[in-house]
């Protein structure tokens, strides 16, 4: 995904899930001057957003089509899928890509085995388990060299 913004043009982003990761991303997008809609089923999760967050929040089941239509997802320049449930994220990402024809989608998956499913459908993923394990493996090999 290209998040550089050389022309200071404002883009429209949708973020699914407003937990620790979702709120950081939503705050970052808002701080950069983009339009943001954050969707979460739990109203309290929006407390994670910073005081100067200027985007919109929507309470609802993230994987419902109605909810996505309400968020005007078809107009999004980019979509972040960051709910805590892998299967929900897979379905949201595939719906956004195949049903709403929005190509710029990135999703978080915890289970590295789910990466195959995403790769097949050309959806970008970020896997915290893989990131952490790669970092830790480097730590191991560093120890072995010393």
């Amino acid at each position: 995904m290209n998040f550089k913004n050389p022309f200071k043009k404002s883009f429209y982003y949708v973020v699914f899930g407003c937990g620790r990761l979702g709120s950081i991303i939503a705050n970052e997008l808002s701080a950069k001057g983009h339009s943001v809609v954050v969707i979460d089923r739990d109203e309290n999760s929006f407390e994670n957003l910073s005081f100067d967050f200027t985007g919109f929040t929507l309470v609802g089941e993230a994987n419902e089509i109605e909810q996505m239509k309400e968020a005007k997802i078809e107009k999004a320049n980019g979509v972040f899928v960051l709910t805590p449930d892998d299967n929900t994220n897979i379905m949201i990402a595939l719906t956004v890509k195949k049903y709403f024809n929005v190509d710029n989608v990135i999703a978080r998956v915890y289970n590295p085995k789910n990466i195959k499913t995403f790769a097949k459908h050309k959806i970008e993923i970020v896997c915290p388990t893989m990131l952490a394990s790669n970092r830790l493996k480097k730590f191991i090999s560093k120890g072995e060299k010393e």
Partner: protein
């Protein structure tokens, strides 16, 4: 070929019984340990306790590409992921998914899971279909309409009892059906009218009395 049933309680139990009775090998996967024990006691199927969207569980199923894979979990996203894994990792051609939210039918289709069953759509269609017919009949029978549908019971003494329909001349009306012993017979020319029959007659409002007299008057 074997039948794989992923999740679901009542539906998967009854489907399993049906497939077993027809001689198929059935494997069932369920998240709830207690329900698995119950299934194992009641059915001659292979029961696996686990999450049907977890690749480790799917590996245990020893899936072959001619197996029938049926996803019946309560969350659509789980059914989608299970069917995708079955198709893409295990090359299963025949997978069928339960879809709870009818809006998701379009999503499943776009993603390429073509065989879906939506109980909500089926139920809704049944309800709408019956209410449309009712509305149609009501509009036919409204005050502004000159159509009349009514029922006549044939007594022993009716002059038309034990006669064939083709021998009965009704101007401006037809006998649509006959209710006899709790079932309905679609009326044809060679159908006999028997005492105790109830005739369903369609006619014009102003002709109702004259049609009525044809049947009720004694011979």
């Amino acid at each position: 070929m074997k039948v794989i049933l992923i999740g679901g309680e009542e539906i998967s139990y009854h489907l399993s019984r049906m497939f077993l009775n027809r001689g198929y090998k059935v494997t069932m996967v369920n998240k709830k340990p207690e329900y698995c024990k119950y299934l194992a006691k009641k059915l001659k199927a292979l029961i696996i306790n686990g999450d049907g969207t977890d690749n480790k569980v799917l590996e245990q199923l020893e899936l072959k590409n001619d197996d029938v894979f049926i996803a019946l979990m309560p969350r659509d996203q789980d059914n989608l992921v299970a069917c995708l894994a079955a198709r893409e990792i295990y090359k299963i051609e025949n997978s069928i998914s339960l879809v709870n939210d009818p809006e998701n039918l379009k999503v499943f289709e776009k993603i390429g899971i073509e065989k879906t069953v939506s109980p909500v759509s089926i139920m809704a269609n049944a309800i709408f279909a019956s209410s449309t017919v009712e509305k149609y009949i009501k509009s036919l029978l409204s005050d502004s309409s000159d159509l009349e549908i009514f029922e006549i019971e044939i007594s022993e003494n009716s002059k038309k009892a034990n006669k064939q329909l083709k021998d009965i001349e009704i101007k401006e009306g037809i006998i649509g059906a006959i209710k006899r012993n709790g079932s309905t017979i679609i009326a044809k020319g060679d159908t006999y009218i028997l005492p105790g029959d109830k005739l369903i007659i369609i006619t014009k409002k102003e002709m109702k009395n004259s049609v009525y007299n044809i049947f009720v008057g004694e011979s």
